[in-house]
């Protein structure tokens, strides 16, 4: 496949008079783990809503594997796996039933769904929980189950919006490691939105989002320079230290 997995070019978005996103551009290459870092209210969720077509992008363009999300929504969505900020598994169903439902929404029948389900559950370390009701899972398991679900239809792009919110340190590390391993296989490109600075590694491609605009992008270590990433962020934005996490 040629070209980036995700390409966002010059995207702006308004809610009434409020400018939520201002001329945002970024790319995610296949096999890359791109961190989208910004404090709460920076516009991360708005950007995700535009990429997943919950909102329409009225200016600029968003392409997934070369498919424009507006003109070519079906093929673009077919290449996309999403873990939303709010939890979205059906609590009354088992993990396997949730996966089967999701697979069906992508046109995958029952038998294939079972095979794929076992594979993705194994990759997130939840195979033995397949028949458990979602309501019985811990927070970290829930997130990994959502990641498994997002992978069911074999997407090229994995979007995660604050996937570690509300998790304890260990579960957080598990979830981040799971996703990094997925990117390392080279099969998916990952856009990882977070407000937690310690989830970003020096070698990660990083996009800093603040008040709806990209203020820096590049390799994290390069952006940080000779100070820590959070210090660099503070000096770039002028926000107070107590407004940021980690």
């Amino acid at each position: 496949m040629s070209g980036p997995t995700l390409s966002v070019t010059g995207v702006s978005h308004n809610f009434g008079a409020t400018k939520a996103l201002d001329d945002v551009s970024l790319t995610v290459e296949q096999g890359a783990f791109v961190a989208l870092l910004g404090i709460n209210g920076a516009g991360k969720s708005t950007l995700f809503s535009l990429i997943t077509r919950l909102y329409d992008n009225v200016s600029g363009s968003i392409e997934v594997c070369g498919h424009d999300v507006r003109r070519d929504a079906g093929p673009a969505l077919a290449q996309m796996g999403v873990v939303f900020q709010s939890r979205s598994l059906d609590m009354s169903l088992t993990i396997r039933q949730n996966l089967r439902y999701h697979a069906a929404l992508h046109g995958i029948g029952k038998r294939e769904a079972r095979e794929r389900g076992d594979k993705v559950l194994e990759s997130v370390g939840l195979l033995e929980k397949a028949e458990s009701k979602v309501a019985t899972l811990s927070g970290g398991q829930l997130r990994r189950a959502e990641i498994a679900r997002a992978l069911m239809h074999g997407p090229k792009l994995l979007l995660l919006d604050e996937a570690t919110v509300g998790l304890d340190v260990r579960s957080r590390r598990d979830v981040v490691d799971t996703v990094r391993n997925l990117a390392d296989t080279g099969e998916v490109g990952v856009l990882w939105a977070t407000h937690l600075f310690d989830e970003v590694r020096g070698s990660d491609p990083l996009v800093l989002l603040h008040k709806g605009a990209v203020i820096e992008s590049g390799i994290a270590a390069g952006i940080a320079g000779d100070v820590t990433l959070s210090e660099r962020f503070l000096s770039l934005t002028g926000v107070e230290r107590d407004e940021i996490a980690a």
Partner: protein
């Protein structure tokens, strides 16, 4: 790879999955099934029994003889089951939207109109099961329309269920929060039900209030009730059929418009 699943076969797999999920939820929520059944039965056993002596009914189509009030009110109660079901599935959609499950549905690669229509069909299927369960109990209560009527009823139930579901679907796009559902009860379900031909024939209403009579005639629920009433007696009420189909098309189009990210109401709101 996955792009070649974007054909009609894939679409029907998606529709099957949506109906399957609704069926599982339905099977798990026995209380919901029971309450959907108890509600019309209370009307039938208590309200209709009390009303029987008060209300005289002349012979009006589709009835060929005098009928007891219980028999008159039964089609209206079938429609009531579907009305509650349609609004309840709209409630579940507002809930789904708040929890994020709606987003799961909307990131399906199939066209939004198709996904939403599938959701609608799943809800209608559930309401039809409820109606037949109700009619079975009513049969033991001596409400016995012609046997063929149970078959001719099915297409009428599909249509009226689609209409009420489409209204619910549209409302679900317009309701901002879950708490507003009490408002839907008061401002949609009750007025629609009472200002219709479900409980009393319209000529009776005309005797007491011309204005109310006009309102009942403008209420699409009246036509759902009449479509069901005629179908249960193996007849077609063409006016009712036309209105139900027209209203279904209008509200379904409005709902799809509202859920369309480039035009709709959903995309205009934050969060």
């Amino acid at each position: 790879m996955s792009v070649n699943r974007l054909n009609w076969r894939g679409r029907f797999t998606a529709m099957g999955g949506i109906i399957w999920r609704e069926a599982i939820r339905f099977a798990q929520q026995r209380e919901r099934f029971l309450s959907a059944l108890v509600r019309p039965l209370v009307w039938l056993f208590i309200f209709a029994a009390g009303f029987r002596s008060v209300l005289g009914l002349s012979i009006t189509p589709p009835y060929e003889t005098y009928v007891l009030y219980e028999a008159y009110v039964t089609p209206g109660l079938c429609a009531m089951i579907q009305l509650f079901n349609g609004m309840q599935s709209s409630l579940s959609m507002v809930y789904d939207r708040e929890t994020g499950a709606m987003r799961t549905l909307l990131v399906s690669p199939y066209p939004r109109w198709f996904v939403l229509s599938s959701k609608l069909i799943a809800g209608v299927a559930v309401s039809i099961l409820q109606v037949y369960a109700f009619l079975l109990i009513a049969w033991f209560w001596d409400i016995r329309p012609p046997p063929l009527g149970y078959i001719t009823l099915l297409p009428a139930l599909i249509l009226s269920g689609m209409m009420l579901g489409a209204i619910g679907l549209f409302l679900s796009s317009a309701i901002k929060q879950l708490e507003n559902f009490a408002g839907v009860m008061n401002f949609v379900i009750f007025p629609m039900f009472f200002a219709s031909s479900a409980l009393y024939p319209l000529w009776r209403i005309a005797e007491s209030s011309e204005l109310l009579y006009d309102i009942c005639n403008l209420n699409p629920f009246t036509y759902a009730v009449e479509l069901i009433r005629f179908a249960l007696y193996v007849q077609i009420n063409w006016l009712a059929l036309g209105v139900v189909v027209g209203v279904t098309a209008a509200f379904l189009a409005a709902a799809i418009y509202a859920y369309d990210p480039s035009k709709g109401l959903v995309g205009r709101r934050r969060g």
